[in-house]
Symmetry: C2
Subunit: 636 residues, 2 copies
């Protein structure tokens, strides 16, 4: 074996690139070295089976794997993460391998949920107000007798002390003359910013724009907003480009602690995700990115660390301390976002290592602190975070639910986007499923999202196909066991799906899902106990996150994921983190209220809370070891 090898990557519609790497490096490492995008949800552990490449020529040291059928292996298919370079090699990378990173979806229309953001805020007394105004200015024409510089002439006319941003200064000489010395200035007079700043100048009245961004571990969602009136000009979604360092947040934190790692994670979210996302939204709305004068970010504590490029390793080490809760005073230029260099950045504060700005913003968006009624807010993102409380108090905790509710750690899991099975009923006798799929009428399935998982597990349980421990209890038909001993239930056969691969749920998926729902339920029980409340005291139960609007609350109760309270108290509120980001974006009063929400929250550390581990063990059954917690339901 030579000491270094040249690995060449080819793909569809782009030039081949190659990297010289040490023998023994993984194909994934070689790909990262030469900038070839390969998502690696399991962070290179060979467990998710999602990084299948094809060896075109040369050698790789690579064992067979349960994710590769014999005929696939024979055809040169390999998992990039567990295949090691043993000589020069050429490798074909299908475009689907960078699906999370490269797919940006932009719409000129806001989503159904986002359409109501402004009205919901207005009803709570928050109107668009970011202290940015378009001000008309008239100046005298310069002459040999009056050769005052443009900036000083402009400021004298504007009155009062002002700082002129570089962006505005660069335009001023031409704007002033082209507009015949009567033009407009966009001025921000924000609290704590002295003097006021001139952000932009133009011949005509100026509109300030803003972006609200929810940075999820898996996906990034954003809105482009007219700050003058709160109108949503465009919305966008993209995969979080950090997926090449793992789908799981812990893998990314580990990567970030390596030399240069914090910078790599930072650049992945900025350069490979936010800058193109913002650029695409601005292009859709026909405005330059420099017209974005304010940006609001929400996300979990780790994502906020990576956004800022801050060392995050202490988040995963006892005593689990973040580098920061709040991050004030940043400007667009600080993060090289391509927006106005002096844009104000509002970053929603975190309250703990695992309760971040997505939760403070989401709790604000739910309005749970506006009322004396007890509310339970659950964000089913890549992890599960919970807030319990009212206008009197807010208690929060994070349960290590993992990404199952977003389709992570599930072989055929996916987010609640086109092709996701979001609802399912199974015929108890024939075991034939009937499902509905997100997207156009009659669309073929691609995978299963969180709400679909809940239905399928509930139905498998109801039909006796799996037992209370989640083990398969029936045989035949759609239940098959492969040579590796993995049993699975086929939801959609290969010839019924969009991409020709069967959609199924296997032992490992069901185990992952039961652990996820168990940790969520145990956390809810523990919090209720901590505040001395019973499930029946809960007046509102808000479910937020990417689990999908198709969530069947009855099924979620059936499997012991949510407490058994009247169904009318449940509501699915979608991406509440983005709703909170929008609120902080268009109203500095709302931004202050998000901060106040964070300040009100008490963080409960579950891992050291007495009794939590017992609750967790008890909750990892269907529905629970204590069946009395759940009322009997027809068919269950």
């Amino acid at each position: 074996m030579s000491e270094t090898c040249r690995v060449t990557f080819s793909g569809d519609g782009r030039e081949a690139v190659s990297a010289v790497v040490a023998a023994g490096s993984s194909v994934l490492e070689a790909a990262q070295k030469c900038g070839v995008a390969i998502d690696a949800p399991c962070a290179g552990n060979g467990t998710c089976g999602k990084c299948v490449v094809t060896l075109v020529s040369g050698e790789l040291e690579s064992e067979r794997n349960r994710h590769l059928a014999d005929e696939d292996y024979a055809a040169g298919k390999r998992l990039a993460c567990v295949s090691r370079v043993a000589g020069d090699a050429e490798i074909y990378v299908p475009p689907s391998l960078a699906a999370y990173r490269n797919r940006i979806r932009v719409d000129n229309e806001p989503s159904a949920g986002a359409r109501n953001y402004r009205e919901l805020l207005r009803a709570r007394g928050f109107a668009p107000n970011t202290n940015i105004q378009s001000v008309p200015v008239s100046v005298g024409e310069p002459s040999l007798d009056d050769p005052m510089a443009d900036r000083e002439r402009f400021l004298a006319a504007l009155g009062g002390p002002h700082r002129v941003s570089l962006a505005a200064l660069r335009k001023l000489p031409l704007v002033m003359r082209e507009a015949g010395y009567a033009f407009h200035a966009l001025v921000r007079e924000a609290e704590g910013e002295t003097p006021a700043i001139v952000l932009d100048v133009a011949a005509d009245e100026l509109t300030p724009f803003g972006i609200a961004v929810d940075i999820g571990t898996t996906s990034v969602s954003a809105l482009l907003v007219d700050l003058a009136n709160g109108d949503i000009m465009a919305s966008a979604n993209a995969g979080n480009a950090q997926i090449c360092y793992g789908a799981d947040i812990i893998h990314r934190i580990i990567e970030s602690a390596k030399p240069g790692g914090a910078e790599r994670l930072h650049r992945a979210i900025i350069d490979d995700c936010l800058v193109p996302l913002i650029g695409d939204m601005c292009a859709a709305a026909h405005i330059p990115a420099g017209a974005v004068m304010r940006a609001s970010f929400t996300g979990n504590t780790t994502m906020m660390h990576f956004l800022a490029g801050v060392y995050a390793d202490h988040l995963r080490r006892e005593p689990y301390v973040p580098a920061f809760f709040e991050l004030g005073g940043l400007r667009g230029g600080d993060l090289e976002l391509g927006i106005h260099a002096d844009a104000q950045l509002c970053i929603a504060p975190s309250v703990g290592s695992y309760v971040g700005g997505d939760i403070t913003a989401g709790a604000f968006a739910s309005a749970m602190a506006d009322s004396e009624a007890l509310s339970l807010f659950i964000d089913l993102g890549t992890n599960g975070e919970i807030v319990l409380g009212s206008s009197d108090y807010l208690m929060t905790c994070a349960c290590s639910a993992g990404p199952a509710f977003e389709g992570g750690d599930i072989a055929c899991g996916m987010r609640a986007t086109d092709g996701a099975i979001e609802k399912c009923v199974i015929d108890a006798e024939t075991m034939t499923p009937a499902y509905s799929v997100v997207g156009a009428e009659g669309a073929a399935p691609v995978g299963i999202c969180g709400s679909g998982l809940i239905d399928i597990v509930a139905e498998l349980f109801r039909c006796g196909i799996i037992d209370a421990k989640g083990k398969f209890a029936r045989e035949g038909g759609r239940i098959t066991t492969d040579e590796w001993g993995i049993t699975s239930f086929t939801v959609a056969f290969a010839d019924e799906t969009e991409d020709g691969s069967a959609v199924y749920l296997d032992d490992a998926d069901i185990d992952n899902f039961i652990r996820a729902k168990g940790s969520l339920f145990a956390a809810i029980r523990t919090m209720l106990e901590a505040v001395g409340a019973a499930p029946g005291d809960i007046e509102n139960l808000f479910i937020a996150g990417g689990i999908g609007s198709g969530i069947n609350f009855a099924n979620a109760v059936t499997i012991g994921m949510l407490p058994d309270i009247p169904r009318e108290k449940f509501s699915y509120i979608g991406n509440s983190s983005l709703a909170g980001a929008y609120a902080a974006l268009i109203s500095h009063e709302a931004a202050g209220a998000v901060d106040a929400t964070a300040a009100q929250m008490t963080y409960l550390e579950l891992s050291t809370y007495p009794g939590y581990m017992d609750e967790l063990i008890a909750a990892c059954f269907l529905p629970h070891t204590d069946a009395s917690l759940f009322s009997p339901r027809s068919g269950a």
Copy 2:
């Protein structure tokens, strides 16, 4: 002729690069397109003869030129700027062609002049003070019971509201722990900056550093300074990388007005000059560039526009209005200088299109406004700027002297650096010159700097070799006329020089020089008249700039460049612009005093001042049409 041609550039010690350009493009344009550095002092007009390349193969449309001898042309030598591409071609570019741009000289020792900066300031009551302090901080160790985030823990211990810079936040988690929770923070509490900002954190006491930079049209000079005590840690000089767009400021302004031009000029000074210059100084002093917490810039009005990337075309169009006089509130990150992103930038204010921050800073450094005595301050940079006044008033003007005093527009001209002939005496009978050269004892000459030019012209005139109009009046010996009709006086024969090329002065050089000295003298006369003063009222005459410390004031008077006043009133104060930049860097009070100096200045527009043109015509003789202005001098 094909429509596009591939031009390949080779050089010593680097890979060949090529560009595809339209047929008819100049070689200079092709070089710029693929990033090959070719200085173009005359901005592509074919007049300076300094862009000689060699055609290795292929075709160029190129006329012979007086700058190329027959044998050179036959050997493939061509002027890059006036040679047009007519087919594929390979061109050799000698390294000397990017001499201005690529040569950065760094010294760990300050220059002789800079060594006194601090003491001169101290004598005037300005001590180092930039409101930046290293503050010791102790925090409690985080625990599961006290999981407050690092930033919030740190700020609570620091007391009072603070903003934590991203750079400091990125270090905080590791510094805090590595230092055992007792460490240091570098805090700036500057006026108009609320709240105070934490710039850096470290285990040990922190030292803030700063850079003072004088951006000349031709050269850039810089100092790296310990802000705590004003010590100069390193000094550096480099050519202004904008020289590829012309040595003359007007050519650069024209370039900057083309599409993308302001950005090109901006990037040339930032990326190709300031970033490497700062990097080299910091490397010499063994500090990271991020430890530079304050930067002070001086330069003419145009250079300050390009520094900021601001449209500058109105500077050359009546009524000659700059885009700005002052430029407050900028930070290191705004200009991508590679220093601390939150470094404060002090940019010396301009007072007119042709009287910039170099003059306001220089006038401050001269201390002329500290006294009631009338002083005349003359900066002989690439142009000539003059300030006349005292503590009562300051009047300023710019004379279009051109770059002759810095060696520009002179065939063998150069700055007062190693190899420059800085003094000269000519034997009236044999016409043999005796000269001294800047640099090591016995160094061979390379060219002629400003002070050398004054001596040579004065001596040529004294010896009757040239007449009062600057025309050659004697023949033979060192006086030769070439086939283009250009007559020249050889100061050093080819075999006496460093590079084997003769050092000479020709008709055109003498014309340029007489125009330069004439415009300076006319400006002085006009200003004196404007304030109702006579030459005899001048108590101090300060000469600043790159003309060289070897300036012979008697000769400068002999040729009618400076007024005929007692020699003891003259003093050469070197780079006063850099001295002013240093002052503003180490003391915010001094920075305020530079601003106050600018506010005190009245700008006199010579071009419209009655009688100036008559003065100019009268002064373009040796010494002047009115000989009574100059007392008879032995030998003259």
